[in-house]
């Protein structure tokens, strides 16, 4: 007995007065609790800082500054033949439309009695986005009957003016800015007072394609959202049947031997393989060997399928395993074949778990960017991909990749848009995760 010498210390110890050892143990527990609270707090603070900075930078991307003024679409300029034939009207380039717009803007300023200061016509025109003439040209070519009429235009303001209304650009910074001058901002102040300039909700951020560095105000997520959606369709169509079939075979039908063990270990390992590895595989196999096009959502979908499959297989096998053997036994007992037992009883009961696993796998695939960089989805794509199935081979972008490309652009306005894109991506991810939780809550059965 080693503690015979220590034992007398305990004799006569009070139940209400904790002795030194109890106090030490209690203190250790308190410290551990505090550590736990601290760990959670650090996590929460990090989350708040992250979300706070993203929301702070990005929410303004959903509102955009517009300049509104009437424009007379002069038939003598836009349609020299006068037969409203879009094919012939295409000869007028955006430069021609730009001149028309410049005149209309100057006329609008004169009509409202706004003092133009010492600014040249070109400097006033610089307040308008370079996208504006292109939008007008598209609108006219889509509906040639408007030629000759006076229509109101809602044009984007240039990103610096937009930044001024959002507080990113100030009079002081404009004195040093090569792209805008304080005089231009003063004119903008007068135009705002006259109601020509207004900040409004910008649906274009979600629907328009990407834009070059000269017109960040026009850049939108349209092509990226569509590209991501196409990829998710490909992933869903391929990975759900393949994943479920593989899991059913492995879980219910396959013999337990060395081969199935090997396959199982490999699937578990594949789930942990860095995603860039799948990108390299896709580049070598799908693009270089099979000759599929670059930047295509189909290829992106195939890579993400490979990446998602292990996750789906693991989730599906877990939910198949969770169905009690008594269900199978009962089905087999009343004379069902093995296949009937699986498809009539086991699979429906496992379905909520399978769907949850699939949705979580899709959510991970949606946020994945690394493998897409290797297959050309990081490109500047301005044309919307066509309708599937052909559209699956058209070039497109993807949401996480769009965030990446925007953070690399030189113009500060793209910082705001990159954060806006992150918000959109987070909303999609939250929706998918919420859907998974709802499915699990509603349909999950406990045995």
């Amino acid at each position: 007995m080693t503690d015979t010498t220590a034992a007398p210390a305990f004799r006569g110890a009070s139940l209400t007065e904790p002795d030194a050892r109890t106090r030490r143990r209690n203190a250790a527990e308190r410290r551990f609790r505090l550590l736990g609270v601290g760990a959670v707090a650090i996590g929460l603070v990090a989350l708040v800082i992250l979300l706070g900075s993203i929301l702070n930078n990005g929410l303004s991307a959903f509102r955009q500054t517009y300049i509104t003024f009437p424009i007379t679409l002069d038939a003598a300029v836009l349609d020299k033949q006068g037969n409203r034939n879009p094919e012939e009207m295409k000869k007028v380039t955006t430069i021609g439309y730009g001149k028309l717009m410049q005149q209309a803007l100057l006329d609008a300023l004169d009509e409202q009695g706004i003092d133009k200061g010492d600014l040249t016509d070109k400097e006033i025109m610089a307040l308008l986005s370079k996208e504006a003439p292109a939008d007008l040209r598209d609108a006219v070519l889509a509906d040639p009957s408007v030629v000759g009429q006076t229509i109101p235009v809602n044009a984007f303001a240039t990103s610096r003016l937009d930044g001024y209304l959002k507080g990113r650009v100030t009079m002081e910074s404009a004195t040093r800015d090569a792209n805008i001058s304080p005089e231009q901002l003063q004119l903008a102040d007068r135009m705002e007072a006259a109601g020509l300039i207004e900040k409004r909700l910008n649906w274009g951020f979600l629907t328009r394609p990407d834009a070059s560095e000269l017109r960040p105000e026009a850049a939108g997520l349209g092509v990226a959202i569509l590209g991501s959606a196409y990829m998710m369709i490909v992933v869903l169509v391929l990975s759900l049947p393949i994943g479920v079939a593989a899991s059913i075979y492995l879980e219910e039908l396959a013999p337990k031997n060395r081969w199935t063990d090997l396959i199982e270990i490999n699937i578990a390992n594949l789930a942990a393989v860095p995603s860039i590895v799948f990108g390299i595989l896709a580049l070598a196999l799908f693009i270089n060997t099979w000759g599929l096009p670059q930047s295509a959502p189909l290829v992106g979908g195939l890579v993400l399928t490979l990446m998602t499959l292990p996750t789906i297989i693991i989730a599906t096998r877990a939910s198949l395993k969770a169905v009690p053997p008594s269900i199978r036994d009962a089905a087999l007992g009343v004379g069902a074949s093995k296949m009937q037992a699986i498809f009539h009883h086991v699979l429906p009961l496992a379905m909520p778990g399978i769907l949850t696993g699939t949705i979580l796998g899709l959510a991970r695939a949606l946020g994945e960017s690394a493998p897409l960089l290797l297959i050309g989805m990081v490109a500047f794509v301005r044309d919307f991909p066509g309708a599937p199935p052909q559209g699956l081979l058209d070039p497109a972008s993807a949401l996480p990749v769009q965030v990446y490309t925007w953070t690399q652009r030189a113009d500060p306005a793209f910082v705001e848009r990159a954060s806006g894109a992150i918000i959109v991506l987070l909303v999609f991810l939250l929706t998918m995760n919420a859907l998974a939780i709802i499915l699990r809550r509603r349909f999950e059965r406990r045995w």
Partner: protein, 354 residues
Amino acid sequence: MPARPIPAVLPAAFLTAMLAALPAAARDNIQISGSSTVLPYATIVAELFGENFDHPTPVVEGGGSGAGRKKLCEGVGEGTIDIANSSSRIKQSDIDLCTANGVTGVMEVRFGYDGIVFAALRDQPDFAFTPADWFRALSARVVRDGALAPNTARSWDEVNPAFPRHEILAFIPGTKHGTREVFDHNVLLAGCKETGAYDLYADAVQGDDDAKKKEAETRCLDLRTDGVAVDIDGDYTETLARVRANPAGIGVFGLSFYQSNTDRLRVYTMNGVVPSVDSIASGEYPVSRPLFFYVKLAHMGVIPGLRDYVTFFLSDEVAGPDGPLADYGLVPDPKLHETQALVAAERPMEPLSQ
């Protein structure tokens, strides 16, 4: 030639079924890849091109000059790109790769110049640099009392008594950047010769003049490794972020990047010349480089719109002094009309002279 899919596994079978459902269509968009310095210019032209022509907007990808040229030389056919953007001249190794893969006619198009500027945050002190100052600040060894000695300067006033007392910290492009070559050649090597270090290096070598020249040029580019010169392997946004985190630092940027961020950055002169589109076009500002793109002539007339795109890119209204590219910071090529003639004739490039 793409191999036929092998339906060895289930996914392949699915894919074959899906592909069979797709009507085979010829590629109708131009595909461009390469330098991230040229990328903004190429996207601006692509955007204008898509807007004003009946062809789809070209798909433009970054990834680096070397990677772009390698992709161009992968072969001829729809699966390969049409144009490689490059911020440095094509190398003999690329041409050899092209020849090996059957890409014979490659047209070299120089469309303008890019200035490389030294800039710091707005509130930093004033400097008027010369290449010699940069060599004395960043080189591994400097000339002291007529001999080469390890560089120990910590403050700019040790480099040049005319400068204020200010910590030396420089963010320079990493070695894989095309910008670094220009920095090495036009700043460090020039400074090396100016300070006499070049001659000291050359004298120390035994052998003929060629060996001396080669050795001296390599030694001149040795940078100090004590953390004063920081290589940036990312793009200029990373350099800007580093300069903002270390306000004492001076960064190396492209002229166009600086022009988009003039409200935050101040630019320094080199040999007393302020970098601008004009001073670079006239050749007064010493640190600049030509920008190129390389066109695969075998795709001309096969990929719709390729000829139009190249002609449009080089037109006066796009690449000229009043065009959108100059607005963004491109230094227009004074010999643009020669390049236009070259493009009109679709003349493949001559073998490299070296």
